[in-house]
Point group: C2
Chain length 384, copies 2
């Protein structure tokens, strides 16, 4: 039983007993394979949601204007907004849309070579798994290849794993740390890994609480101390958010009174999200000019839309990116808000949008019907 004054500052790292609980959660999730236990509460820093931890980690990586950080395209724009603010360079690499948005080491190698040719020094690699906005879940063999890539190039791996509970395929989520556990000591003892988690996703979805953390693996203790020093400038993460992290990583146990209800509610939310993910992707794929990869994880579908030539010209004449123009039309006609692919980055001359599948099950078929009506009218109006 812990007694807490939730109105008082805590240590800048986050409350010790909660960091202990996070460490236990990670050990349960990833095991303790290999010849040493990597997991320590001293290598965990709590934060107001995952975003400040990501930003502070990027700050640690970027030491001058030639420091580069590899980011996926498409990507959640926290990264593309923060890296230039910190005076660093983005090194974009493309996800492979034709192969369900997977990552190709060949593409990573090319991105590093291009960066080095331009005098940019790659310092870190951002991987979002499950993907945002793209919803893919990486395969174990691809994760091993990524860990080998960062080892060869001495990059810090920033693993944005905030959607780790939102996996709708038959294969369970595997963290980069767990994959690292299964590799040789050359990797296991050396790959510098930062993993981010948050209470804003999963079945909790307590995004207003701003609870999150970063766990560091194979980071030099002197670097961890500098991270601590930076954290201390802002005093501490909000305590209520820290407590929600505690609830997330330490759910009710079998002998506890709320155990059955917790797993019943959690299961119902999960099953519903999975049904909605499949429904949205299936119905989007039935429409003319829309191709959508499966939403294996996260909370998003990211369909590719073929925008007719005439609509592209009209959009440009009005000073909008074609997909932004499409999304504005959708908003005006239906009140639905989706985010244009140009906000996340995409291959030139391709167009996408990101939609969540968060409308309730009662309403989602109507949402899809409204979207279908809009899109059909749009295509009828502008079809080449």
């Amino acid at each position: 039983m812990h007694h807490l004054i939730i109105g008082a500052y805590t240590t800048s790292r986050g409350i010790p007993f909660i960091r202990d609980e996070i460490a236990d959660f990670i050990r349960r999730r990833d095991g303790k394979e290999g010849d040493r236990d990597y997991t320590s509460p001293d290598n965990i820093f709590m934060s107001d949601g995952a975003s400040p931890a990501v930003q502070q980690s990027l700050r640690m990586l970027i030491r001058d204007a030639n420091s580069g950080v590899m980011i996926p395209i498409p990507q959640y724009p926290l990264y593309s907004a923060t890296i230039p603010l910190l005076g660093g360079k983005q090194i974009p690499y493309y996800l492979d849309e034709e192969n369900n948005w997977t990552m190709r080491v060949n593409e990573l190698e090319q991105a590093v070579s291009r960066a080095r040719e331009q005098g940019v020094n790659p310092r870190g690699l951002v991987v979002i798994n499950p993907g945002n906005p793209t919803g893919q879940c990486l395969e174990h063999r691809d994760m091993e290849a990524i860990l080998d890539f960062v080892a060869r190039h001495k990059l810090v791996l920033l693993a944005d794993e905030v959607y780790q509970d939102n996996v709708y395929t038959s294969k369970p989520f595997v963290s980069f740390k767990k994959v690292l556990h299964g590799m040789g000591t050359q990797h296991r003892h050396n790959v510098e890994l930062l993993s981010f988690h948050s209470v804003s996703k999963g079945m909790l979805g307590e995004c207003g609480k701003r609870g999150g953390y970063v766990e560091m693996t194979n980071i030099d203790p002197a670097v961890v101390e500098q991270y601590y020093k930076l954290s201390s400038i802002g005093l501490c993460p909000n305590v209520t958010g820290q407590l929600v992290v505690s609830l997330m990583v330490n759910p009710p146990r079998p002998n506890e009174p709320s155990h059955a209800l917790y797993y019943q509610e959690r299961g119902a939310i999960y099953d519903s999200l999975k049904r909605r993910a499949e429904l949205v992707v299936k119905q989007l794929n039935q429409l003319e000019g829309i191709q959508c990869n499966p939403a294996e994880g996260a909370m998003y579908a990211f369909p590719r839309i073929t925008i007719p030539r005439r609509a592209i010209e009209l959009a440009k004449a009005e000073g909008h990116a074609p997909d932004a123009w499409y999304c504005l039309q959708l908003l005006a006609r239906t009140g639905m808000v989706v985010v244009p692919g140009s906000g996340f980055g995409q291959r030139p001359d391709t167009f996408h949008f990101r939609t969540t599948f968060l409308p309730s099950e009662e309403s989602i078929q109507q949402v899809l019907n409204d979207f279908k009506t809009f899109h059909t009218d749009f295509m009828n109006k502008y079809r080449d």
Copy 2:
């Protein structure tokens, strides 16, 4: 009656009805003098405590390595830590210890001249009022002179007013905005002012909730939009903290059931803080080699200590600043933690420490007795 989902993201600015309440609070505090109402919820941004708002404001001010921000010496180290992180230059100005830590425009002018000679471009002036760590409350005429100074030099005034409720003198707190209201239109329509407030101080002291805000006056709307854009990267401040801001700025009204109890509790906390502030300063001033200005505001006494020559030499031999060494001795002997003046900055060859007067009234006399024993022994041991 407002219904809120506290687990959901809010707008990055903070919940609209709470920003309305903040605007009302500011109007009640500062009046609507002059020919227009400066106060708008659109110019208020909420944050996780005041610190992130200060940091984001400094980010807006620092545009290159020659951008300078004037900071008081001594100062709360949020400023001295953040400015170099953002690639800017600190322009230190000294508070006048002999005159109760007041600010002298003459000193500000000299600091600006020194900076310009070194190629530094002053962009903003930080004023902490009531002072941290120095506890002074500025006089109305000095605040007018400061507003005139920033107008002449086209500086943004960053008014750290988080201790606005912690004033123990007979004169009430006056905000820089209220002083500005009383000045001519040349100032009133032009001085760019950012004022920070927080739930962490005052009689609330809910520092673990991380609630705060910045209010902007005379800031170009295009600049406000850029501030909004920066805020949106981190999504939103924690919602519980936002609600505590609502409670702070919108206390119980006379017709509400908790009105009497609220003011009774608040008054008791205030009276006790005031008694402790006076007690601590009085008893510190009775000790050999200690001179302490009155703690007119905030939560701190910041006594100057005359450290004997032999103790200075011993400290330096051990690689410590003399005041840090003194504080470490105090910690080892009594378990009391105070912060050395070297953490805040001080005139060369002067030494201070910051202590709070937050120990309970039941315990504070014992704390002062223990301190007296330590200090007397220290002086007996090292006296020149």
